[in-house]
C-alpha cells in the first residue's frame, strides 16, 4: 500500500462493510461494543480493551422494526434497531447509549427490552451545559461509566486511558489536516471518497486507521491541480451516512469545504487535553468545544457556533442535511436559516429518510442551489 488509490480503496472497503462482515473480520479475542454518539467517550471503551464500533445507520429494508417503533423515528434509530432485530448485531458484547434526544432515549429502553446483547449502559450526559453544576455531574457519570467498564470489560489503568486519549487525538489531528488540505485542493480527494474515509474511522481498528491516515497524508500533491474552482459550501446536519450526497454536490459544481456533521467535523471538537487528569479532560471537552443540537448551552450557542464555522470555512452557502424526524435539528433550523440570511449566506434544506432512496429529487435541488450561489 502507500499510494493514494490503494489507500482509498481500503477505506472504501471498510466503509461499505455490512455488520456481519465486520463481525467476521474481528479477531477472536476482540470485545466489540457498539455506541451511537460522540457523547460516549470512545477513548474509555478503547482503554478498557474493547473495540468501539459506531452504529451509523445502514441502508436496510425495514421489516421487523414496525412491531416496536412508530414510523416517525429517524433512519438512524430505525435502521439500527432493524439490524439488532435481524440478529446482525449479535456479535456485539454490549451497547452504550448516551442521553441526547427523545428518540434515542426511547430506543435505549426498547433495545434493553429485547435482552439480545450481554450488556447495555446508559451514559447520562447532562442536557444543560451552561450550568456550573453540570461539570461535577458529568464527571461523576464518567466515573460511573469507568466503574462499569472496569467490572464488565477490563480495568482501565490511568496509563491505558492516557494512551487511548493520545491515539484518538492523533486521529483527530490527522483528520483535521485532511480537512484543511481538502479545502486547499478540493480536487485532491473527492467528496465521496472523503465521506468513506471518515466513515471507515468508526468501523476499524483505530491504530490501523491512524496508520492509513498517515500514509494518505503523505500522498499530498506537490501543487494544486486545476479543479474548475468549485463553489465552497458548508454541510450542516446529522451524519455522513452516504457518500452519494457528496458526489451530488460535487457534480453540481460545489465542494464541501467544512461541515458540522455528527460523524464529521464535529468529531474534531473532541480533542482532549493531555496535560491534566484524563477524567477531568474528558469531562472538560464537552463543555469547551463539543456541542450538539440536543444540548443546551445558552439560547444563542447553536446559532453563534454555526455562523462562526461557516465564516471560518469561507463557505458561500450552507446545505442542511437532516434525517427526517430529527427534532433537535428541525427545531433549530428556522432560526439558523434566518441568522445565515442576515449574514447574506443562503441555505438549502434537504431531508432524508433512508439515504438509499429519493436521490433524484435531491440532485435537482442541489443543482439549482449551487447555480444560485454561482454569480454569472
Amino acid at each position: 500500500m502507500g499510494n493514494k488509490p490503494s489507500l482509498i480503496r481500503e477505506f472504501e472497503r471498510v466503509a461499505s462493510l455490512e455488520y456481519k462482515d465486520i463481525a467476521s473480520q474481528l479477531p477472536g479475542d476482540c470485545i466489540p461494543i457498539g455506541f451511537f454518539c460522540p457523547y460516549v467517550p470512545e477513548e474509555m471503551l478503547h482503554a478498557a480493551g474493547a473495540f468501539p464500533l459506531r452504529l451509523m445507520g445502514t441502508p436496510i429494508r425495514m421489516s421487523h422494526v414496525q412491531a416496536h417503533l412508530p414510523p416517525n423515528c429517524c433512519h438512524l434509530v430505525k435502521s439500527s434497531f432493524e439490524s439488532l432485530l435481524r440478529g446482525e448485531l449479535d456479535f456485539l458484547k454490549g451497547i452504550v447509549f448516551s442521553h441526547t434526544c427523545d428518540t434515542m432515549q426511547g430506543l435505549s429502553d426498547i433495545w434493553a427490552f429485547q435482552k439480545r446483547l450481554p450488556f447495555q449502559f446508559d451514559f447520562m450526559t447532562p442536557s444543560n451545559l451552561s450550568s456550573e453544576r453540570s461539570r461535577p455531574y458529568l464527571k461523576a457519570e464518567i466515573e460511573r461509566f469507568k466503574a462499569f467498564l472496569d467490572a464488565n470489560v477490563r480495568e482501565i489503568t490511568p496509563q491505558d486511558l492516557k494512551a487511548s486519549i493520545h491515539l484518538f487525538n492523533q486521529i483527530r489531528e490527522k483528520t483535521q489536516t485532511l480537512y484543511r488540505l481538502r479545502r486547499k485542493w478540493p480536487g485532491w480527494i473527492s467528496g465521496s471518497d472523503f465521506a468513506q474515509i471518515i466513515r471507515a474511522g468508526y468501523l476499524m481498528d483505530r491504530s490501523r486507521y491512524l496508520n492509513l491516515l498517515g500514509q494518505l497524508l503523505e500522498t499530498i500533491p506537490e501543487k494544486s491541480e486545476d479543479n474548475g474552482h468549485p463553489i465552497p459550501v458548508f454541510l450542516a446536519g446529522n451524519m455522513t451516512h452516504s457518500p452519494s450526497y457528496f458526489s451530488m454536490m460535487e457534480e453540481a459544481g460545489a465542494s464541501v469545504v467544512s461541515d458540522n456533521l455528527c460523524s464529521g467535523a464535529r468529531f474534531l471538537r473532541l480533542v482532549t487535553c493531555e496535560d491534566i487528569d484524563p477524567i477531568d479532560a474528558l469531562t472538560e471537552r464537552y463543555f469547551s468545544s463539543f456541542l450538539c443540537p440536543a444540548k443546551h448551552s445558552g439560547v444563542q450557542a447553536h446559532i453563534e457556533t454555526l455562523i462562526k464555522e461557516v465564516e471560518e470555512a469561507g463557505a458561500r452557502g450552507v446545505i442542511f442535511l437532516f434525517y427526517k424526524y430529527c427534532e433537535p435539528h428541525y427545531f433549530d433550523y428556522p432560526d439558523l436559516k434566518k441568522a445565515l440570511e442576515a449574514k447574506g449566506i443562503p441555505s438549502l434544506l434537504l431531508e432524508v429518510d433512508d439515504p438509499a432512496t429519493s436521490q433524484g429529487q435531491l440532485k435537482i435541488r442541489i443543482q439549482a442551489f449551487v447555480e444560485m450561489l454561482n454569480p454569472i
Binding site: 429502553d109 455531574y137 461523576a140 457519570e141 427545531f331
Partner: protein, 408 residues
C-alpha cells in the same frame, strides 16, 4: 357530553361550573398580570411551579394552553402558521401550536400573555429544551433550564444531587428576576398546599376504583387543569375538596360517571384533545368507561416528601412518570389495571410525544403478558387532527370491545 346518549347517559359533574369559573379567573389574571401587580413566567408542565407561587409569580403553561387549542380545534391552523415559518410538521404539535400562536397572536384566549421569563424542565421531554430556546430568543426574555437526567432503571445519588444543586440555582435565578429574596416560610406553605392538592387529586382518582367509577378518565382530562396550573394555591385545594365531596357522594349512592359500565378500561398517553367527546360517546354507547389513565395520574405522586424542602421537591420532580424508563411505565400500567379492576387498556400512540409513545408496542405485549388483559394501540396526535382518521379508530375500538366481551 350530551345526556341524549339515552342508552347510557353521562352524568354531568356539578363542580364543573366552579371549575370553569376557576380557570376563567386564572386566565384572566395571567392575561392581565399588571392589574394584579404580578409577573408571568411560562413553565413546562413538569417544571417546579412552587417556587414561582412562593415568589408571587403567575405561571402560564403553554402545554395546557396547547390542550385548550386542541380541544377547541384551533391547533391545525396554529401549527400551519409555525410550519410556514419553517418549523417541520413532524415536531410536537404543542410546540407548534405555541409557536404559531406567538406568531399570529391567535388562539382561544387571543394573544398569549407575555412572559417576563421562562422556566423549562426536561423531566417530560427534550422537546421543551428546543421549544423554550426558540421562545427565549423570539421574546427576548431570560430562560432558566432545570436539567433532570432521565433514569432508565435506577436513580443514582449524583443524579439527584445534580438536580438539588440546580434547584438552588433556580431560586437564585428567581431572586435575581424578582429583585427580592426567596421567602422560605411562604415557600413551605406553598409546597404543603401543593402536596395537599396532589393528595386530593390522588384520592379523587382513586375513587374510580369503585364499581361503577364515579369519575371517568375523560372527566379527569378536563378537571386536571388546576392540578397542573394552580398546584400550590389555595384555589386548587378548595376546588378539589369540593370535587372530591361530590364524587364521594356519588360513590355512597352507587352512582357512576355513566349509567352503564360493563367494560372498564385504562388509557395511556395524552388525550386526543379534539376527539374526547366522540371517543367518550363511542365507548359509553358500548358500555365501556375509561376508569383511569397514566396521564392524569402522573400528578398523583405516591409518597411526597413531607419535609416540604427544596431537596424533597427536587426528588419529586426528578422522578415523575415521563422521566422514567419503560420498566417502570410497564409496571405502572399493570398496577393500574389491577387496582382499578380493568378489562383492558387503550394506548394512544401520539405522533407528537415521543417520550410517551416510544416503547408502547413492547409495553402492550408485556402488560398483556403480566395481566392477561388485552390492549389496543390507536394512532393519533394530541392536538393536531390533520393526520387523524376517526373512522379507522372507531372501527378498531369496536373490534377491541368485541374481543373483550368475548373474553368475559
Amino acid at each position: 357530553m350530551e345526556n341524549q346518549l339515552l342508552n347510557n347517559p353521562y352524568r354531568q359533574i356539578k363542580s364543573t361550573a366552579a371549575y370553569r369559573r376557576l380557570m376563567m379567573a386564572y386566565y384572566f389574571m395571567v392575561k392581565h398580570p399588571a392589574w394584579f401587580g404580578k409577573k408571568v413566567a411560562w413553565i413546562t408542565s413538569g417544571g417546579p411551579v412552587e417556587p414561582l407561587y412562593a415568589m408571587g409569580v403567575l405561571p402560564f403553561y403553554p402545554e395546557n394552553y396547547g390542550a385548550m387549542c386542541g380541544a377547541s380545534r384551533m391547533s391545525p391552523s396554529l401549527c400551519e402558521a409555525a410550519e410556514q415559518k419553517g418549523y417541520s410538521h413532524d415536531l410536537c404539535s404543542y410546540a407548534l401550536t405555541d409557536i404559531g400562536s406567538s406568531f399570529t397572536g391567535k388562539g382561544p384566549i387571543g394573544r398569549l400573555p407575555r412572559p417576563d421569563f421562562l422556566v423549562c424542565g426536561n423531566n417530560i421531554c427534550g422537546t421543551v429544551i428546543k421549544w423554550y430556546e426558540i421562545q427565549a430568543r423570539a421574546i427576548r426574555v431570560p430562560l432558566f433550564f432545570l436539567d433532570t437526567p432521565f433514569f432508565h432503571d435506577e436513580l443514582h445519588q449524583h443524579n439527584l444531587r445534580y438536580v438539588e444543586k440546580q434547584m438552588g440555582e433556580y431560586i437564585a435565578f428567581l431572586e435575581d428576576q424578582m429583585k427580592r429574596s426567596f421567602p422560605e416560610k411562604r415557600f413551605q406553605k406553598v409546597v404543603s398546599r401543593s402536596f395537599e392538592t396532589i393528595s386530593l387529586w390522588r384520592e379523587i382518582l382513586d375513587l374510580s376504583r369503585n364499581h361503577p367509577a364515579p369519575f371517568a378518565a375523560f372527566d379527569a382530562f378536563i378537571h386536571m387543569a388546576p392540578i397542573v396550573t394552580l398546584r400550590g394555591t389555595r384555589w386548587a385545594v378548595r376546588y378539589y375538596k369540593q370535587l372530591k365531596r361530590e364524587l364521594e357522594e356519588r360513590v355512597k349512592k352507587g352512582v357512576g360517571a355513566f349509567g352503564r359500565e360493563e367494560i372498564r378500561l385504562i388509557w395511556d398517553n395524552i388525550p386526543i384533545w379534539y376527539d374526547i367527546r366522540n371517543l367518550s360517546k363511542l365507548l359509553s354507547s358500548n358500555g365501556a368507561v375509561l376508569v383511569a389513565d397514566t396521564y392524569t395520574s402522573a400528578w398523583a405522586m405516591e409518597e411526597p416528601d413531607l419535609t416540604f424542602s427544596l431537596d424533597g421537591l427536587s426528588r419529586a420532580y426528578a422522578t415523575i412518570h415521563l422521566n422514567r424508563g419503560l420498566g417502570y411505565k410497564t409496571q405502572k400500567m399493570a398496577k393500574l389495571i389491577e387496582k382499578f379492576g380493568a378489562h383492558g387498556f387503550l394506548m394512544h400512540s401520539n405522533r407528537s410525544c415521543k417520550p410517551y409513545s416510544l416503547g408502547q408496542y413492547d409495553m402492550r405485549r408485556e402488560v398483556t403478558r403480566l395481566t392477561g388483559k388485552p390492549g389496543l394501540i390507536i394512532e393519533a396526535d394530541h392536538t393536531d387532527s390533520r393526520s387523524y382518521s376517526p373512522q379507522q379508530v372507531e372501527k378498531q375500538i369496536l373490534m377491541f370491545l368485541e374481543i373483550i366481551r368475548g373474553k368475559d
